[in-house]
């Protein structure tokens, strides 16, 4: 069973971007935020959800697998680190490989950066900055047992489908109790390739 990790609960997100500001304040990324907010129902409601690195376990970190410079380290405890500054060549392979659209490229530094689960904090037993401050608990850091103690009966998922591929992740999503379905469909349907409709 999953250990201490981040749980994302879109039902609690208010779109305030405290996580975005908090990520900018943590000591890992020196003033840059590794979180973005997505709006799945734009124009119809204010629904929002934060996207952090899902720390893929199986297949292990697609971003790391495609890195030609071996710059992305996966630690023994399953945390997919941001690119090693001495190795990264800024090619953006990782950006294209990530099924969740997480890594970003700093064009000036020619460096990939992404959420590393606040390794500077979690290594000392602290929660990541985003999950610490999240005013609503849409980002929760802990074990699934701790989450359920606070939110009885909550259902979580840690595997997602992208076409025929199933990706298991270290970070989990809270899913509606009445719509439990594993794996959770992830990503957007492909509708066009090179200007050709493939739907």
């Amino acid at each position: 069973m999953m250990g201490r990790t981040i749980f994302i609960d879109p039902g609690r997100c208010i779109g305030c971007q405290a996580c975005v500001s908090a990520c900018r304040e943590c000591d890992s990324h020196r003033g840059k935020s590794m979180i973005h907010l997505d709006y799945p129902d734009e124009g119809h409601s204010v629904a929002s959800l934060p996207t952090v690195c899902m720390h893929c376990e199986d297949p292990v970190a697609p971003c790391a697998e495609v890195c030609p410079a071996d710059a992305i380290l996966v630690t023994a405890d399953g945390v997919v680190q941001q690119a090693d500054t001495t190795r990264c060549i800024g090619c953006a392979n990782c950006v294209n490989a990530c099924p969740f659209g997480v890594p970003k490229i700093d064009l000036q530094a020619k460096l990939q950066m992404k959420c590393n689960l606040c390794y500077d904090r979690t290594a000392y037993g602290l929660a990541p900055m985003c999950a610490t401050v999240c005013p609503t608990g849409a980002l929760f850091y802990g074990t699934v047992e701790e989450l359920r103690a606070e939110r009885p009966g909550v259902q979580v998922a840690d595997s997602f489908t992208f076409g025929d591929v199933v990706v298991s992740t270290g970070v989990a999503m809270v899913v509606p109790a009445d719509k439990v379905q594993w794996p959770v469909p992830g990503g957007l349907p492909i509708v066009e390739v090179n200007g050709r409709t493939v739907r």
Partner: protein
Amino acid sequence: MNRLPLDPSLAPPGTRTFRDAGGIPADQWRADQDGETLVPTHCCFCGVQCGMYLRVDKGGKVFGVEPRNHDINRMRLCPKGINAYQQINHPDRLTAPLLRRSRDEPFREVSWEEALDHTADEVRRIQAAHGNDAFGLLGGASLFSEKTYLVGKFARVALKSRHVDYNGRLCMVSAAGANKLAFGIDRAANPFSDILLTDCLLIAGSNVGECFPVMTQYVWGARDRGASLIVVDPRETAIARTADIHVALKPGTDSAFFNALLHVVIKEELDDEAYVGAHTTGWEEVRDKAMEYPPERAAEICGVPASQIVEVARTFARAPKAMAWHARGIEHHSQGVENCLSVINLCAATGNLGKPGAGYGTITGQGNGQGGREHGQKADLLPGGRSIMNAEHRRQICEIWGIEESELPPAGTSMMEMVHQMRRQEIRGLIGICNNPFVSLPNYSTVKEGYDTLEFHAQFDFFLSETAANAHVVFPVTTWAEDEGVMANAEARVVKHNKAQEPPAGVRTDTWVICQLAQRLGAGDKFAFAGSREVFDELRRASAGTVNDYYGITYQRLEETGGIAWPCPSTDHPGTPRLFEDGRTAHPDGRIHMQVVEWHPPVDPYDDEHPLSLTTGRTVAHFLSGNQTRRLGALVEQTPRPWVEIHPSHGFRNGDPVRVVTRRGSEVFPALVTEAIRPDTVFIPYHWPVPTAANALTIDALDPRSKIPEYKVCACRIEPGDRIAEVPAPPTAPGHVAYPAAQVSRTDPLPPTSPQGRGTAERG
């Protein structure tokens, strides 16, 4: 510093590039962990007052923030709280007094002596020619309680003027007035933690998710435990989206809705007869009036289904424990007090008071909106919430202040009324302390005219606000992190802010400036305070024995406990987190004085030319007039400019220029098209200066009792606009230049559809 421009076209396909964080640019960001210290304090912004640590480096400068496990927020912070520290050492900070003899001249930096002497001379000149009341004082509710106490004392003892008021007048005075009428005490009845214990939570006119984000954890906590959530709001806010019942009523119809709820409660015999009989007065009249509001009639007024009204009434009244929390959405009205009273009537009739999980609360907008009026800063109040027109109360305070009762002026007028008095030259001189009426008051052209008519105007602030930029003298004062003092949050919990760094050279505390001015006006012996501690000790004594009793609260106790709710009459008293547990209110008879409420249409009438409702409110990244938050790049980036939120049925597309016309004027905003608003209502966030100011359009109609302006409803029309105006950069003192990065997004012609998640982006 050379910074290469970021060219998005250079990005590899599919790359997400960084947008600059603004404020503190990314390459200037530093985390000096060696030898840093953490200073425990609270956020300077809203009425939740989250605990936080400020990170202070070896050189004694604040450089960051760290979450703090305080009882109120349990580590949580919103984006305002996280970014607040950036204003402490911001390059826009005022660091020397500014002076000019007329508004046609530029400001020049002068010595403190010259600025203080000139101000005192102008006070004496105006008062000698036109009487003491020709000089006024306007305070602020972001000040520590010690300073609000000093503002009230300075106006009455040093200026000897009746004209003192504060910007809390624009915040929660309707709730305060209603609470005082019904209960004889002006504060929320329950702590936030009671929300976790309720079975039904009704939130009226409060965008909790954006205005008080950290309070959401209590709302979600209640929901996790199975409580019903009812939200009354014309817009589908983040809280409304997940509510069991969202009542999207038409702005300005709240009291009709609440009267109809009471009607259903009475008709279906869901009222608590035993409680009403034992604890209330006025029930007969309230009941008779409620019977005039059947759900069908209210449905027509409010524009919601009658069946929904019945459902809400049943859900609230049948819950074993129910709570109602409200904010500016029902308070910013020409019937704001009545709206709040109609909520109180519902709570009282169903016996939902004085129990864990049952009661009411008003959610304070400003950090010290609650404490700001308790100690004499409001036109009609003396310290301890005493009435300035009550002979006994006057005598008590004169004794503490060491003046004759005949020297104490009578009650003054409210903030908006003072503006009209400025236009009529009844008030010719003014000192403003940490407020920004040019952005925050309604009907901008009237406000500008009033201030322009002043012969002399001085402002205290730490950034040059739009109002300060129009003054003759500007005093550079400290931020919350450079002084110590207390604030009372929305629960009436008094918390202590601690000093984290020394103020920049040239900056003084508000306390020092007020005392210096008092000395020059011949009242130095009454203002011999070295700092906040001495002022707080006098404040404690001045509040002793009143409803707002602070006597038992000391700095030491606050540091040990993390906060004490007043009343707290002795140093061994634990404070009073929950009111009315013994069934008694603060009225002499101990009963709830229920008040008859009649619904009136809003003051600005709808007609063929102005068929829609314009309503206004806040966004999560901005606070009040934005004098602080519009300078912090990360927050500017989140909400770079105001927009007009409209329903798709009007035929506009996202980003179209839309002219919004009211009887006060018109301005063009980019459209943000969304189904999350009523078709007959448009919304504009109201934190920006002209020509992007919702307050150039809003009406300055006032509630007759609380004198709060009617920000939340006026008649308007929308039509295709031409050019969308750029948001002006915040004013700065001569020689101060804001970070260019903070300006980046300000000219973006599109509304932040994606950051806000409300727009209809082109959908495949």
